[in-house]
Point group: C2
Chain length 160, copies 2
């Protein structure tokens, strides 16, 4: 990797791969979730993820590169952790707490990645790409916030 | 996993493993960093990480479990990405931008994990453990903020 452009393309491919892995994992997480609220959160984030993948494809077009992913070990590990939860949770309470935690770890990973991509797009003078990536970042932040709220409501409900 | 306590212990072991991997990776990242500022940031976060590991050991003591890690695929993947940067960066500029990005992805992972552990410690009525974990979370947030500031200063300096 010789310059910032190489880094940007590499990370874009990494995130593209990650989003497609997440797209495959979310329906399984929605199916496993115990409460209607969490199911709905995963399902609606699945639709959002489709839109995010389209935005990434637009960014690839802007920089005139084919939209291709490269295997990203970190997201593999994060999705693996969600699978572990689904296999090992013995009660609906443990399942939902574990899925919420796995979901938030994924959102934080994406938030870090989009933050970096937006900074690099700025440096590379790609304001339109930065804007699309910013939209994805906002959605990830909102998804993380929603999962936090669901976790908090579950705690309060149990305490009441 | 039968209850929230099982989940808490599992995630605590996961984070304990992660922090020890990070402790090993940081001196390599400091050595590879091109600017004195980034070197210093990684070095001082290495010292902080030692303190964080000690706090995790205290939490293990509080719940009367041996301080043991379990392999965490996500952090393996994140550390792998930092290694890739160190192997493939051909210029100091690319090296530092890549290391900053890798460092921030690690910080975000930890922020997500400590956020979850603190919520669970609250539910399990472990306020002292929650307080120790909160200290780690604050340090991770500050480390992430410092890396963002370094990245921003590098951009502004280049633009000037």
């Amino acid at each position: 990797m010789k310059d910032l452009n190489d880094l940007f393309v590499h990370l874009l491919k990494d995130v593209y791969y990650a989003e497609r892995q997440i797209l495959k994992a979310l329906p399984k997480m929605a199916k496993a979730a115990g409460t209607a609220e969490l199911k709905k959160a995963f399902e609606s984030h699945r639709s959002e993820t489709e839109g995010q993948i389209e935005r990434l494809q637009q960014v690839f077009e802007m920089i005139e590169k084919p939209a291709r992913g490269i295997k990203c070990e970190a997201i593999e590990g994060l999705v693996e952790e969600a699978k572990e939860v689904m296999e090992e949770a013995e009660t609906p309470e443990v399942m939902d707490a574990g899925l919420l935690a796995a979901g938030q770890a994924v959102e934080h990973y994406e938030m870090a990645r989009y933050g970096t991509l937006i900074a690099w797009a700025g440096q590379l003078n790609l304001p339109k790409a930065a804007k699309l990536l910013e939209q994805n970042l906002v959605e990830e932040k909102n998804a993380d916030k929603l999962l936090s709220d669901i976790a908090l409501r579950a705690v309060n409900k149990k305490a009441a």
